[in-house]
């Protein structure tokens, strides 16, 4: 299975995302923001980082890069897309996911090993988990506070579109402890924590993050 990892100017965790894809058993494929070429990949990861230096708004400029037009079109026909941290911000700016990520409530960048509860174990990116499973994955962001209008939050909760939620403390003041959300069809997922940093015992606080990458490989096999 070929999983594309997009590099925008200022992407930082693209090497990590590619490694995670490889460790999960997939074939990572580098995608360049300036090309209109998805290289026939079976799914796409938008990695973490500071695309365009977070200038204007985090993710705002990257969301308008040439390749994102192709990603938006492909997502419309069911291509699985995962946005991690800055990638989540890009997906919100591109209109693929609802809500916005704003400055952390305490105004600090914060990096810690974060408890998460998997609220939806039936999306393209979370099917390796069980409903309600608690996992530990690093979180690291300065603008990771998920916000949306109350009515929108109620609707997201009602439709079951909150994918992961912070437990053991909310690191950035996100509304309703939301760490990640999904599209209506469960194919596009965005989350602030970094599953690609929890894929090896040697370097991560756990290997819980691998589940996001094995999930998409399994769901692609199931679809094939």
């Amino acid at each position: 299975m070929r999983i594309g990892v997009i590099t925008f100017p200022g992407s930082l965790d693209d090497v990590d995302a590619a490694r995670a894809v490889r460790l999960a058993g997939g074939e990572p494929v580098s995608l360049w923001h300036g090309d209109h070429d998805l290289k026939d990949v079976d799914a796409v990861v938008l990695p973490g980082g500071f695309s365009y230096g977070d200038y204007l708004r985090a993710g705002a400029i990257a969301a308008r890069s040439p390749l994102m037009a192709d990603v938006v079109a492909a997502a419309g026909t069911g291509l699985p897309v995962l946005g991690i941290c800055n990638g989540f911000q890009v997906l919100c700016e591109a209109g693929l996911l609802p809500g916005a990520l704003t400055r952390n409530s305490h105004l600090h960048f914060r990096n810690r090993d974060q408890g998460l509860r998997v609220e939806r174990a039936d999306t393209a990116w979370t099917s390796s988990f069980t409903q309600g499973q608690e996992i530990v994955v690093p979180v690291k962001n300065g603008e990771g506070r998920y916000v949306a209008a109350d009515a929108d939050l109620d609707r997201l909760e009602g439709e079951g579109r909150v994918v992961v939620r912070y437990v053991g403390g909310n690191p950035n003041g996100s509304s309703r402890d939301i760490a990640g959300v999904t599209s209506a069809d469960g194919r596009v997922v965005g989350l602030m924590p970094h599953p690609e940093h929890a894929v090896e015992d040697l370097t991560g606080p756990s290997t819980d993050g691998l589940g996001f990458f094995t999930s998409v490989l399994t769901s692609l096999v199931g679809a094939a």
Binding site: G10, D16, G48, H106, N111, R117, P138, R165, D177
Partner: protein, 779 residues
């Protein structure tokens, strides 16, 4: 008064217009020869009378305004090392090391770590800018050292920071510290470099003069090494990266080379402003042009900007160089040629490129949205010439700018107060061991540093094996072989204040031990020497003694010094900082999976102390925190014992004999076991023999606490090596108990240890979860 709306706005002028308008005032080489007696503001630029006279001797005429600007920045203390060079020669006299591929004098030293990999690492100060503008000062400190590493041809892979501030509760510390931490984090995080460790210490002598020392480490294949050299007549000089602006003009000559005084003018414009996004693009573009073989020489632009890069490239090569200064892309078209030469605008690099490779070079830069401009070429003469709109404004022998600056063998005197200080023996008996223990671990120096380290990304790139609060940062270099490196930075200034010769060696010993504790074999040394004014003979003596100590220590441990940085004039008025030689040691892990962490995870393991404890309290954290005392002599140095201990620790790691190891340093055994216990919430019951104050709080060197499930094997290995072993007790429980002396519940210790920095600098509270599990409908 109303604005004159009919006038042409200045900003609408093109650079050419602005230049032409200013041409009548342009100080050309020709004019300098014709008008030799024109008064020049050399003193304001930081040059002394005799230095100005020797520039005239070199040129056979007075310098032009632009030449004066170049000499003034390049002959500053910061760039020329004019007060320190005569002492730093000691490092060059150390025996040759097979591991050293590139030594002192280049942008950073390069060390062979095996399997065809080379590692380059260096630590550099950005102290003065960080006091004036904490965020940008610290941020550009990180940016500068990262470019040094990049210039060697390496991919930067991690950063560390060694920080010193005034008293933790001083109002100015609350201004400076949060900005510095946010700046180190803001720049490093945005570059995608994990921060793997460092130091944060407080002392009143740093009030008005904080220390911000940033380390960067990079890795490359041996064949990827690049040199800062302009070779090949006709090769093009390409300036790439950010545009040149008016920031940082005179940063090195004014900020880093003079003492602040309260009445001086505001120096904010002399601090550079960082743009880490541009630097990230610059890194990727550089690595791509290196890989494609498009570069024959490369130099970063840091202190002294274009003056430094062009004169150093030309001085290191065999020919000359011609530069068209008006080709330099500007952020501000009103800059004068001298200002362009002195500007320290960040995120710029200068490359020497063969003519037929220029197109490919520019294409790579365009791919990464990096501005690149040909500004000149290598010539076959021996002069560096710079033109401004066709007029020659600089014509100098480049070596006289870059390499042959003034050198001073400044007068030195042993500080007058040192005998009294050393005779003032520290207290040696605790009235309340429990209270002293809590005071130590809750003191700003001893307290948990998560408030700082949570603001740094330690995960990016996915190769961080150990990071702060471990004794050393450990990185994986090769994913298939698990080859890795370890790095530690240490700089105890109290020891150096009491005896700079021994203090520098104790710092070396501590960093060496910290690398060994992780299981690595120590390989090479870097340093950042932070001292007061070299014009004060007592400070100069401290500096010379510290250099002598470090050189002697490296000789005894068999380690090369790969490079370093000197920061002088760290004083406010007449008050110099405590001498602060910060020492970095690099080690190699043959297999990072064998790394040894500091924390205790399992109950029921045996806790052993390796090394010998003596009642040594001079310069100790206990004497400082509990008694406000600094006096006596620092602990005895025993480098032979350090070496034996390090070899034993490597053996433990290789054979998997210990589950944890933690160096004993500031705060002695009490501090070390507190950190090991709180890491994963595992207590211990311990026994100590002899004088309990010494057992718990003395800071004797060459000591490490280990835990093991196989104490017999550890004892046997230690006996082989001749390292003394004392059994302290057993891990387990939710308290640290020292039998017959005290009991400290971990909860109480944790509160004391973690509360200090948030109480001082504000608490980024976690929001307690309000959404219980199972309340969300699922589809």
């Amino acid at each position: 008064m109303s604005a004159d709306v009919t006038a042409t706005p200045h900003a609408a002028d093109g650079p050419a217009d602005a230049a032409v308008r200013s041409m009548p005032d342009l100080d050309t080489v020709e004019r300098a020869a014709q008008a030799p007696d024109t008064a020049q503001p050399f003193a304001e630029l930081g040059l002394k009378d005799d230095e100005y006279a020797s520039i005239k001797d070199i040129l056979g005429r007075r310098p032009t305004t632009a030449e004066l600007a170049m000499y003034s920045v390049m002959w500053s203390e910061h760039c020329s090392y004019k007060s320190s060079k005569v002492h730093l020669r000691r490092f060059g006299d150390l025996p040759k090391s097979d591991a050293l591929l590139v030594g002192m004098g280049e942008n950073a030293g390069v060390v062979d770590v095996g399997e065809g990999y080379a590692v380059t690492f260096k630590v550099e100060s950005h102290n003065h800018p960080s006091y004036i503008e904490p965020y940008q000062g610290a941020a550009t400190g990180v940016g500068g050292i990262v470019r040094d590493i990049l210039t060697m041809g390496a991919r930067p892979i991690a950063v560390m920071d060694s920080l010193r501030f005034g008293a933790a509760d001083a109002p100015d510390t609350a201004r400076v510290l949060p900005g510095v931490v946010a700046g180190v984090g803001g720049y490093g995080n945005c570059l995608g470099l994990p921060n793997i460790g460092g130091e944060l210490l407080f002392d009143a002598t740093y009030a008005g003069n904080p220390l911000v020392n940033a380390l960067c480490v990079g890795v490359m294949r041996h064949e990827d090494l690049q040199l800062a050299k302009a070779e090949g007549t006709g090769n093009k000089v390409v300036l790439f990266g950010a545009r040149t602006g008016g920031d940082g003009i005179g940063g090195v000559s004014v900020l880093a080379s003079e003492t602040f005084d309260a009445e001086g003018p505001a120096k904010r414009p002399a601090v550079q402003v960082g743009d880490p996004f541009t630097e990230k693009l610059l890194i990727e573009a550089c690595l791509e042009v290196f890989a494609a073989g498009l570069v024959t020489g490369i130099q970063d632009l840091g202190g002294a900007g274009i003056s430094c890069a062009t004169s150093e490239l030309a001085a290191a090569g065999s020919g000359g160089m011609r530069i068209d200064l008006d080709a330099v892309p500007l952020r501000d078209s009103t800059l004068t040629p001298a200002e362009i030469l002195m500007s320290e605008s960040q995120e710029r690099m200068c490359a020497v490129v063969e003519p037929d490779k220029v197109e490919a070079f520019l294409a790579v830069c365009a791919k990464w949205d990096v501005l690149a401009t040909v500004i000149g070429e290598v010539t076959d003469g021996d002069r560096l010439t710079i033109d401004w709109h066709g007029e020659r404004i600089v014509d100098v022998p480049p070596r006289t700018v870059a390499l042959e600056g003034p050198r001073y063998d400044r007068p030195m005197t042993r500080p007058a107060d040192l005998d009294a200080l050393q005779a003032d023996a520290p207290p040696s008996s605790s009235a309340d061991l429990r209270a002293d223990w809590l005071a130590l671990v809750s003191s700003p120096d001893g307290a948990d540093k998560s408030w700082v380290t949570e603001q740094y990304d330690r995960y990016v790139r996915g190769n961080t094996v150990l990071a702060q609060p471990e004794d050393a940062g450990v990185l994986r270099v090769d994913e298939s072989s698990n080859l890795g490196i370890a790095l530690a930075l240490d700089g105890n200034a109290r020891f150096s204040r009491l005896d700079p010769y021994t203090g520098a060696q104790l710092n070396l010993a501590e960093a060496y031990r910290n690398v060994a504790v992780s299981g690595a074999v120590p390989l090479a040394v870097t340093n950042c020497l932070n001292f007061g004014s070299p014009e004060n003979p007592e400070v100069m003596w401290q500096f010379a003694e510290a250099v002598r100590g470090l050189a002697d220590g490296c000789r005894e441990l068999g380690l090369p010094v790969t490079g370093g940085n000197v920061s002088l004039y760290n004083q406010t008025g007449d008050v110099a900082i405590n001498p602060t030689p910060v020492i970095g040691v690099l080690g190699v892990h043959a297999d990072v999976r064998r790394r040894v962490p500091t924390g205790w995870r399992a109950a029921g393991e045996t806790v052993l102390l390796l090394g010998e404890t003596r009642a040594e309290f001079g310069g100790s954290a206990w004497a400082s925190v509990v008694h406000g005392h600094l006096g006596g002599l620092p602990p005895r140095l025993d480098l032979a014992a350090e070496r034996t201990l390090a070899q034993l620790l490597t053996r433990f790691a290789t054979e998997g004999l210990v589950s944890s190891a933690h160096d004993l340093a500031d705060g002695g055994l009490a501090q070390a076991v507190t950190e090991s216990a709180l890491r994963y919430g595992t207590g211990a019951t311990l026994r100590v023999e002899g004088d309990p104050t010494a057992a718990l709080f003395a800071e004797s060197g060459a000591r490490v606490v280990v835990t093991t499930a196989d104490p017999a094997a550890v004892r046997a290995a230690a006996a082989d090596a001749g390292v003394p072993v004392t059994e302290l007790g057993t891990t387990g429980g939710d308290a640290l108990v020292v039998e017959g002396l005290l009991e400290l519940p971990l909860a109480e210790l944790r509160t004391a240890w973690t509360g200090t920095l948030p109480a001082l600098f504000g608490s980024p509270e976690l929001v307690v979860s309000a959404v219980p599990a199972g309340t969300v409908p699922t589809s």
